[in-house]
């Protein structure tokens, strides 16, 4: 048996490493998925040539080739740019994306030497507020990039991006309040556990989406706006702003913005999955039941938990993949908003809806929990 302090440290490092590896893998894979899916929608072939070791593998070598190309691109700072902020901006966006993902629970728990290890790398009692706090830091990257480039288009793009992100953040924060009220906790592990134990009306999994469908809709729309994805990607609307705050960026700096963006998409999708779609739990087959089945089949308890960890992680990533599919599908299906429409949607539609949803949910939950006044 190890020293408990050392044991905790090792467990922590491993958990964070797994989460960061997932975040780092998402960007290259999603670049390929995005291009292939776009090609399918537009009835083209898409990148299908670059493979590894002579195998084409549907062009899966493309992201690797792209990365190598980007590393060997010339890395320069425009002469009128503010050098410090220009270099810092992509690092902030990339860092925010990577640090946010460690707040997601990757599985319920495993046991090592009889010690229970929670598979959520960061277990704060503030729960998913941590994800909000860190994901909001991405705004600094966009605003600083736009300002430091000293380019009028970049400046406008950065301003638009930051105004848009803050506008949708309010509705986003409010949309999740009913979930907190219904489940009575901010802890994501507890929320997931509360969604898996029983069935609604005897056949529906007790997912948050069935308790708070309006919240889910508002959250998903805000998620698109927060990550600056189409139909909300006015920040880099190429028809009017060249490439927005990305205009003056190239080489790895440019790709750091995308690393951050894809990591943020993963994190927010993961948050939506955990709060509304049961997280790592398989619908109709809760992990406690799987544990019973596996131990009943003769597996030891510790081993059974270790079998369930990759299973749960796979389920979680599968559910996140559905959201990622939605992101890409929306990108190539919907036209872009106009800026005033975008701000109107955020302030005049999403915000009142989120507030009304909150009031209705609160009164409903109060009647259900405490009876009529």
């Amino acid at each position: 048996m190890l020293n408990p302090m050392l044991f905790d440290l090792i467990a922590m490092v491993l958990k964070v490493a797994v989460a960061l590896l997932i975040a780092l893998q998402v960007a290259p894979i999603m670049v390929w998925v995005e291009r292939r899916q776009a090609a399918m929608i537009q009835r083209r072939v898409g990148p299908n040539r670059v493979g590894l070791f002579g195998f084409r593998m549907f062009g899966l070598g493309q992201p690797l080739a792209d990365t190598i190309k980007l590393i060997f691109k010339e890395d320069f700072v425009p002469k009128q740019a503010n050098k410090v902020f220009y270099v810092m901006a992509p690092m902030i966006t990339g860092l925010a994306g990577l640090v946010a993902i460690v707040g997601l629970p990757l599985g319920s728990y495993v046991e090592v030497f009889g010690t229970r290890v929670n598979l959520q790398p960061v277990e704060l009692n503030a729960g998913f507020l941590y994800l909000f706090a860190v994901s909001a830091l991405g705004v600094y990257g966009a605003a600083l990039a736009g300002w430091s480039s000293n380019n009028k288009y970049a400046l406008l793009g950065g301003l638009r991006a930051s105004a848009q992100m803050v506008s949708y953040e309010i509705a986003m924060g409010m949309s999740l309040l009913p979930i907190v009220i219904i489940f009575g906790t901010l802890n994501m592990q507890d929320i997931i556990a509360a969604q898996s134990g029983h069935l609604l009306f005897g056949f529906l999994p007790a997912w948050g989406v069935f308790y708070a469908p309006v919240s889910m809709c508002i959250f998903v729309v805000c998620m698109f706006a927060e990550t600056n994805r189409l139909p909300f990607d006015l920040a880099e609307g190429e028809a009017e702003l060249v490439a927005g705050f990305l205009t003056e960026y190239g080489s790895m700096r440019w790709s750091l913005f995308f690393l951050g963006e894809y990591a943020m998409m993963t994190t927010l999708s993961g948050l939506a999955v955990c709060l509304f779609f049961g997280g790592y739990e398989i619908p109709w087959l809760p992990q406690t039941r799987i544990l019973e089945l596996l131990t009943g089949a003769g597996l030891g308890r510790e081993l059974a938990l270790w079998v369930m960890f990759p299973l749960g992680l796979g389920v979680l990533l599968g559910k996140i993949a559905v959201f990622m599919f939605l992101f890409v599908q929306a990108r190539f299906t919907l036209p872009r908003f106009r800026y005033d429409q975008l701000m109107d949607l955020g302030w005049k539609i999403m915000f009142p809806f989120a507030l009304a949803n909150l009031v209705v949910s609160a009164v409903w939950a109060a009647i259900a929990k405490f009876g009529l006044p």
């Binding site: 964070v16 960061l20 930051s162 105004a163 009575g184 790895m252 109107d344």
Partner: protein
């Protein structure tokens, strides 16, 4: 459970690891890429036409208003989170109190809406 070091320690570790990744990526392309600067390349890219003036200009006050309003309503949301996590404990008292609080802010929202602070043209 054994005594955990601190729940914030993994965040510190993630920040350090993340800094290594983003710093490493920036450094890699700085070290490996070619260095052939010229005036046209280092110039600001504004659709390829010669740059007129600077980007350090005055901005629409709308962006400032949006930021201020965001702070107002975001703080409201923060307060609501406190209430939501203590919902079971506060009972109907909390619901009514928060209803009063939120309706006060709603009045302010209607006011800024009527004054056109949220109208973009």
């Amino acid at each position: 459970m054994s005594a955990s070091p601190s729940p914030y320690l993994p965040i510190l570790f993630a920040v350090v690891a993340g800094l290594l990744v983003v710093g490493g990526a920036t450094a890699a392309s700085f070290l490996l890429g070619p260095k052939k600067p010229n005036d046209a390349k280092l110039d600001v890219y504004e659709c390829g036409v010669p740059v007129v003036g600077t980007a350090r200009q005055r901005l629409s006050v709308k962006f400032y208003l949006t930021a201020i309003l965001f702070i107002l309503f975001d703080i409201e949301t923060v307060f609501l989170y406190l209430w939501a996590s203590a919902f079971d404990f506060l009972g109907w008292f909390g619901v009514v109190e928060v209803g009063l609080f939120a309706s006060t802010l709603l009045l302010g929202y209607v006011y800024i809406l009527k004054r056109g602070a949220l109208t973009w043209d």
